[in-house]
């Protein structure tokens, strides 16, 4: 794990797509630095010969017939859309 923990909060918030106020940025960086400091504890463990666990039990591939089922009608699928028109989701204009 990297030695220097200071998190570039603006960069990470951008990746996470969350706008932060200056106040939130300074509070969060302090808290995240202390959490990361704690997490560094894992460096005490030698894991060079350990396989990672992604899933707690043995996994197997799951196949099924390529057959549509349980699909929602358009009105149902769009019921929670903030803004819609003619069965399409309205978004702000993004091209000139």
């Amino acid at each position: 794990m990297p030695e220097e923990q200071s998190i570039d909060i603006q960069k990470v918030a951008n990746l996470a797509r969350i706008a932060l106020t200056d106040e939130e940025k300074s509070k969060l960086s302090g808290q995240l630095d202390s959490i990361l400091g704690y997490i560094n504890k894992l460096n005490e463990l030698d894991t060079s010969n350990v396989d990672p666990t992604a899933h707690p039990h043995s996994v197997y591939n799951v196949w099924r017939e390529d057959k549509a089922e349980g699909e929602l009608p358009i009105e149902e699928a769009l019921k929670n859309v903030p803004e819609q028109r003619q069965n399409m989701i309205v978004v702000p204009k993004v091209v000139e």
Binding site: L42, P56, E83
Partner: protein, 490 residues
């Protein structure tokens, strides 16, 4: 007081319905009345639809009249954590970003409850997106502990545990990612079970950390937890991580009286260092009770225990940052009204800034960081390797013991606001529960006594898919201690 319907367990109510002495409408009305008289103080519910519950009850009574009872739960209310999808009901995850969301489909657990005839009863408060241990991170309000209204009920399934403890529902479903069923059950003096990862389908559960999440029951006794687990367990093609394995009758297994020799492990790492001895005295007393019943105990070691919290907070936040990317302000969440029209992605930034609360932002940002370019191997991959070590600790321990007993929580319920400015302190309070999620094993919390009038929970951890065994062990204690009849005065 014990004669009133709201104080009865689901099993008792099911027998009364079978005997024809009460109707489902009377039962549901008793719980509506109870909620209307106590929930202004407990505040376990985000919302409920009394008319809809009564309509479900009438349909149940009609089935019974025609001898078409669907299952043991036919006519019995089941409260739902507000992250489970029921077609036509709100699903908020206690988040502003989902405040207007209505589920377009039923999750698998809900389909199973409906097939059993259960009354789907209310949407129960939680920490936003299940991130927290107190319900103080709820975007709507903080639920109170029914045993002391100034204290937290625990979390994240705090609404579910408080509603069961306050007799606002006989049973409820919660979800457990790092202790979110067991810790609030412990704080509220009720039974909570996190099943083995894969025992219950997660289809229709709003995802927090997909390799850790499980849905499970909260109830006032072991029998009801088993009854609910019977109803929701099983392989589901809609969740490829649900497991193809036989589902025993958990109710029957828990009540089975045949003699069996048990060996229980006591992890020295849990009992030595972390706990305030007075706070866990009822747990030590419960262990003495088990010894008096001829059950053998031996000290075991889970040497990587001290690394569990750090491992968990990398894996859980990484998975959360990915899962919560779907809440984007475009498709089905609330959308910010003002954003920079020249910057096409500002609508995401602003909608998420408005819609997510502080803890969710903190975890999504931490999770994004540990997955970001240049840090992935150092954090996420490292944590997955540490997870292997923690899992192996349990595999080794279970070679010589049938189950493991520990406190559920280092302390009883704390006062509201105790961890407000120190998220790390809150994370550390999950120390006893999170390893079970990392290892994928089942865990039960059952009430075992009180400290200063506050309930304390005993945790029983079992081998993978051996929920029947930990329920049986819980039953042995419960048969001699009637905590189901202890109710907070409200």
């Amino acid at each position: 007081m014990g004669e009133e319907l709201q104080f009865k367990t689901a099993g008792e109510l099911s027998d009364l319905l079978k005997g024809g002495s009460v109707s489902s409408v009377e039962i549901v009305q008793a719980f509506i009345d109870r909620v209307e008289s106590v929930d202004d103080r407990v505040r376990a519910f985000n919302s409920y639809d009394a008319e809809d519950a009564l309509a479900q009850a009438r349909a149940s009574d009609e089935r019974r009249a025609k001898a078409e009872r669907l299952g043991e739960l036919d006519g019995i209310p089941v409260g739902l954590k507000d992250n489970l999808a029921v077609k036509g009901q709100p699903l908020t995850c206690s988040s502003k970003i989902l405040e207007s969301f209505v589920s377009p489909y039923d999750g698998t657990c809900i389909q199973k409850l409906k097939a059993n005839g259960a009354i789907l009863w209310g949407r129960l408060n939680m920490d936003e997106f299940a991130m927290g241990s107190s319900t103080e991170n709820s975007g709507t309000h903080t639920t109170s502990n029914p045993w002391d209204l100034d204290r937290i009920p625990g979390g994240s399934s705090g609404g579910s545990a408080a509603a069961v403890a306050a007799c606002e529902t006989p049973v409820a479903l919660g979800s457990d990612t790092g202790g979110s069923i067991r810790q609030p059950a412990s704080h509220c003096g009720v039974v909570g079970l996190k099943p083995t990862y894969g025992r219950v389908s997660r289809y229709g559960l709003a995802a927090f950390a997909s390799s850790l999440d499980q849905i499970g029951p909260i109830a006032r006794n072991i029998d009801d937890a088993a009854l609910l687990l019977n109803a929701i367990s099983g392989y589901d093609p809609h969740d490829s991580t649900s497991y193809k394995i036989d589902v025993p009758d958990f109710r029957k297994a828990a009540a089975d009286d045949s003699d069996r020799k048990w060996t229980i492990g006591l992890p020295k790492e849990y009992l030595e260092e972390n706990s305030d001895a007075a706070a866990i005295k009822p747990v030590l007393d419960a262990i003495e009770f088990y010894k008096s019943q001829g059950i053998e105990f031996k000290e075991i070691s889970l040497p990587h225990t001290e690394y569990a919290v750090a491992t968990y907070y990398i894996i859980a936040t990484a998975e959360a940052s990915s899962n919560l990317a779907r809440y984007d302000g475009i498709r089905y969440t609330s959308r910010a009204e003002s954003f920079d029209g020249k910057d096409s992605i500002d609508i995401y930034h602003q909608s998420r800034a408005l819609g997510f609360g502080e803890e969710v932002k903190r975890r999504v940002i931490l999770g994004t960081y540990v997955l970001s370019s240049g840090y992935y191997d150092a954090y996420y991959l490292k944590a997955q390797k540490c997870r292997t070590l923690i899992r192996s600790d349990f595999e080794r321990a279970f070679e010589s013991v049938d189950a493991i007993m520990t406190p559920t929580s280092p302390t009883p319920a704390t006062l509201k606001g105790a961890h407000a400015e120190d998220p790390l302190a809150m994370y550390l309070s999950d120390i006893y529960t999170i390893s079970a999620n990392l290892a994928g094993i089942p865990g039960l919390s059952l009430p075992c006594g009180y400290v200063d009038g506050l309930p304390v929970g005993l945790q029983v951890l079992g081998k993978p898919f051996k929920e029947d065994e930990i329920l049986k062990l819980g039953w042995i204690f419960e048969s001699a201690h009637a905590y189901k009849d202890h109710h907070p005065s409200l």
